[in-house]
């Protein structure tokens, strides 16, 4: 569609130019905005352990503290001299008598057993068939 005369007349009207000083002002503002977009420095990389602990550092710290306390208690227990722990009150007279009685009975039993079977050597196991014949013979 061709423009008519009136449209051509309008098209011939020249447009104004923007004021000269706008160029400097607008470009300065734009360049400042562009600079502000780029970060001033790159933050250093986080150490691996901080990344690992990151989600719940307090919980991890609490757990670590509990372990330290347990370790300390354990170390303290091992450090006490063995004599201190084994000190116990001297046995009573009744206990000594009971012990000596037990020893005597044990010695009697052992002596009796030795008399009944002087060959203390245990016999090697026999085949099952032989054991059965032994039973029947008894």
């Amino acid at each position: 569609m061709k423009p008519d005369e009136f449209e051509q007349q309008l098209q011939r009207q020249p447009l104004r130019s923007p004021p000269e000083e706008w160029r400097r002002e607008i470009l300065e503002a734009a360049n400042a905005a562009a600079r502000a977009q780029t970060p001033a420095f790159n933050p250093p990389c986080e150490p691996w352990w901080r990344e690992w602990l990151w989600p719940s550092p307090r919980a991890w710290a609490g757990l670590a503290a509990a372990w330290v306390i347990l370790l300390a208690l354990n170390t303290a227990r091992l450090a006490t001299p063995p004599g201190v722990a084994s000190v116990s009150p001297p046995p009573s007279r009744e206990m000594i008598m009971a012990l000596s009685e037990q020893r005597r009975e044990l010695a009697e039993l052992l002596g009796d057993a030795q008399e009944r079977s002087p060959a203390a050597k245990p016999a090697p196991p026999r085949p099952r068939s032989e054991r059965q014949s032994q039973k029947t013979s008894v």
Binding site: F6, Q13, L15, R16, A30, N31, A33, R35, T38
Partner: protein
């Protein structure tokens, strides 16, 4: 980040067209300056906006149009009504030495101010940017038919308003 040279090139290539378009839309030089600066700040902050753009001028006109319309809407809700805004009379046209020509330009600026902003935008892009209706539609986010009808309405109003002056200087 776009280099300052690239921003300067964009300004030199397109600022005049954007200035005329914005001044016709806002009718106010201070608003025009603010919107023009806003456009360049956007380009500086988001240079990727220009990636893959085939027609820089059309893209920048669209950016400017959107920013100007936002500003006009804010101004209307804040302090002014459309009539007051339309009455603002900053002219987008250069001064003429010939008094008749100057009179015609002033009358043209006033007549443009009486058009609704959407018709004014279409008329400006058709007459002074030489865009087709398809180009105008793409720039302003309209259908080509809407762009064409807005142009016709706007031009008819200008013709009716300027006919006596036009007959004089013809």
């Amino acid at each position: 980040m776009p280099s300052s040279l690239e921003l300067a090139r964009l300004y030199d290539d397109h600022a005049q067209a954007l200035f005329g378009f914005l001044l016709n839309l806002t009718r106010n030089e201070a608003d025009t300056r603010d919107v023009l600066q806003e456009v360049f700040l956007k380009l500086a902050r988001q240079p990727e906006r220009l990636n893959g753009v085939r027609d820089e001028r059309a893209f920048l006109l669209r950016l400017a149009h959107n920013a100007a319309i936002d500003r006009l809407r804010r101004a209307v809700t804040r302090e002014k009504n459309y009539e007051e805004l339309a009455a603002e009379s900053a002219s987008a046209f250069a001064r003429a030495h010939d008094p008749d020509e100057q009179g015609f330009r002033l009358a043209l600026a006033a007549a443009l101010g009486e058009l609704p902003a959407d018709q004014r935008a279409v008329v400006h892009l058709k007459l002074w940017e030489g865009l087709t209706f398809e180009g105008i539609a793409e720039t302003l986010g309209l259908s080509p038919n809407t762009a064409a009808s807005r142009y016709r309405y706007g031009l008819d109003k200008l013709r009716a308003r300027l006919r006596p002056l036009y007959d004089e200087i013809k």
